[in-house]
Amino acid sequence: MSLAVDAPRRWRKPPFIARAWLRWTLTLGAALYLALALCTTEVSWTRVWQGIPRGMQFVAAFFPPDFASRWGDIVDGIAESIWMTVVATAIGIALAIPVGIGAARNLAPAPVYYVCRAVLAVSRSFQEIILAIFFVKLFGFGPFAGCVTLVVATIGFYGKLLAEDVEDMDPAQAEAVRATGASWLQWINFGVQPQVMPRMIGLALYRFDINFRESAVVGIVGGGGIGATLDTAFLRYEFDSAAAILLVIIGIVMLVEYSSGFVRRWVQ
C-alpha cells in the first residue's frame, strides 16, 4: 500500500503490478501489440457490412428449429456421440491413471517421470481436430476414429491433472501408510488414492462433458457422432435442422453439467 507521507494524507489504490518499470513495459508492449495486430488484421469491412443482412437471413433460417424432419438422424447421431463419449472417457481415464502416476515427481523415478511427461505433452499439444484428421485417415471413417481421438485427448488432460494433484498431496498421510509396512500397490491404494479421489471423480465427470462436446466436432472431419449429422445439415443448407441439433447438444451438455454437480456433491 502506498501512502503519501505529506499532509493531507491520502490513500491511493495500490497498482496491480507493484514494480513500476514492469508495469509500464507491459502496458506499452500491450498497446504496441494491439496496434500492430489491429493494423495487420485484414478485415474487409464491406464484406462484413454485406454480411449483416446475410447473417440476418442465416439466423432467420435457424428459426423455428426443425426437430421433426431429421429426427431419426439426430437420434442416431446423438446416440453414437454418447457411445463414443462413454467408451473414450472410460478407456482414456484407465490409460491416464498409470501415465499420471508415472508423471508425478514424488512417486516415480526420474526416467519414468520424463517418459510419462513426454507422453502427456505430446498428447496435449495437438488439437482434437488435427488428431481426428489423422486417425480418420488411419482407421477409416466412423466412430472408431473419433473414439481414439477422444481417448488420446483424455489421456493428456486427465493424466496431467492427476499428476499435479498427486504432487500436491499431503506426504504425511502417504508416509503413515508406508510406515505400516504396506507394499507399493497398497501404498498407492490407501495412502495416495483417497487423497486425490474426490477431485478426480469431479474431473472425470468434467472430462465426460468435454468429450461429449468434442464428439460434436470430430464428426466434421469424419469421426462419427452428432458432428457428422451437424456437418451434413450445414452442407445441405438445412439450417433449421442444424439449429435443432445445436439445441439438442446444448440441452445434453446442460443435463450432464447439472448431474455432474449433483454427483460431485454426493461424492464429497
Partner: protein, 271 residues
C-alpha cells in the same frame, strides 16, 4: 469402522458390507454400459481398415519426413494471424464476459429470477458450442478470414471466462464487501473496491489460461476458412503435400509449447 471376522480374529475392512456391495454393483453397471457401447461402436467400424492402420501409419510417416523447410516462408503470416486470432479473441471474450459474470453471480446479480438464468443460458450455450462450429457459422456470415476466427474464439471463450469469473465472485469474502459498504460507498464503489481486488488475480490467471487454450484452438479454425495456420494445413492436406503438413504440425507444436510456457510463467507471477 468396518470390521470382518476371519478365523476368529477381527480384520479391518475399508467399507461396511452394504457399502462394499453398492460399490460392486456400481462397477457392474458401469462395466455393462461400457461393454454395450463398445459393441455398438464395433458394429459401425470396418475392422479391415483398423487392422490396416499400422501399414498406413508407416506409409504416412515415410511421406512426412523430411519436413519441407523451405515452406516456412509462406507460414510466417498465418502464424502471426493465429496469434492475433487467439489474443484479440481472448480480449473480446474478456470484455463481454465481465458484465455477464456480474449478472450471473448470485451475490451481485441485479435480479436473481430474471437476469441470472439468462446470463447462465448465455454461458452454457457459448461453452457447449465448439469454436469450430462457431467458425463454421461465422464464415457464412462475415466471410472467410481472420475476423471470423476472432469472433469464433471470442464467442467460445465468453462462456469459459464468465463461468470461472462468476464462480470466483460467488466465493469472495463478504466481510470485505460489507466493510466497504459500511463506509458509505455507492454500488459502483463497492464493486471497484470490495469485489474487483478479490477476483482480479484469479481472473488474470484464468485469462492467461484461456489465451493458451485459444492458441491451440485457433490453429485449426482455418480448416473451415477462418484464417490462421489451419488454412495452409487444410491446403496441404487436400493436396496430399505431407512434407508441408509435417512442417505445419511442427510449427503448431512449437507455438503451443511456447504459449503454454508464457502462460504458466505469467500465472505463476500473478498468483
Amino acid at each position: 469402522m468396518a470390521v470382518a471376522f476371519r478365523d476368529g480374529t477381527r480384520v479391518w475392512r475399508r467399507r461396511e458390507r452394504a457399502a462394499q456391495f453398492a460399490v460392486w454393483a456400481a462397477w457392474l453397471v458401469g462395466a455393462a454400459v461400457f461393454v454395450a457401447c463398445v459393441q455398438l461402436i464395433s458394429d459401425k467400424t470396418i475392422w479391415a481398415f483398423v487392422t490396416d492402420a499400422p501399414t498406413q501409419a508407416a506409409d504416412l510417416a515415410v511421406r512426412m519426413v523430411p519436413p519441407d523447410w523451405g515452406f516456412i516462408r509462406v507460414l510466417w503470416r498465418p502464424l502471426w494471424d493465429t496469434i492475433n486470432i487467439a489474443t484479440l479473441g481472448t480480449v473480446l471474450a474478456i470484455i463481454v464476459a465481465i458484465p455477464i459474470a456480474y449478472c450471473a453471480a448470485r451475490n451481485t446479480t441485479p435480479s436473481a429470477t430474471l437476469v441470472r438464468p439468462l446470463a447462465l443460458f448465455v454461458i452454457v450455450s457459448s461453452r457447449s458450442i465448439n469454436s469450430l462450429i462457431w467458425a463454421l457459422m461465422l464464415v457464412v456470415i462475415v466471410g472467410p478470414g481472420v475476423f471470423a476466427g476472432i469472433l469464433a474464439i471470442g464467442l467460445r471463450s465468453i462462456g469459459f471466462c464468465a463461468k470461472l469469473l462468476y464462480e470466483a465472485i460467488e466465493e469472495i469474502d463478504e466481510r470485505q464487501v460489507e466493510a466497504v459498504r459500511a463506509t458509505g460507498a455507492s454500488r459502483a464503489q463497492v464493486t471497484a473496491y470490495g469485489i474487483v481486488p478479490q477476483v482480479l488475480p484469479a481472473f488474470a490467471g484464468m485469462s492467461m489460461f484461456r489465451w493458451d487454450i485459444n492458441i491451440r484452438e485457433s490453429t485449426v479454425l482455418g480448416l473451415v476458412g477462418a484464417g490462421g495456420l489451419g488454412l495452409p494445413l487444410n491446403a496441404a492436406l487436400t493436396s496430399l503435400a505431407w512434407t508441408q503438413v509435417s512442417l505445419i504440425l511442427l510449427i503448431i507444436i512449437a507455438t503451443v509449447v511456447v504459449s503454454e510456457w508464457v502462460s504458466a510463467r505469467v500465472r505463476h507471477a500473478i498468483i
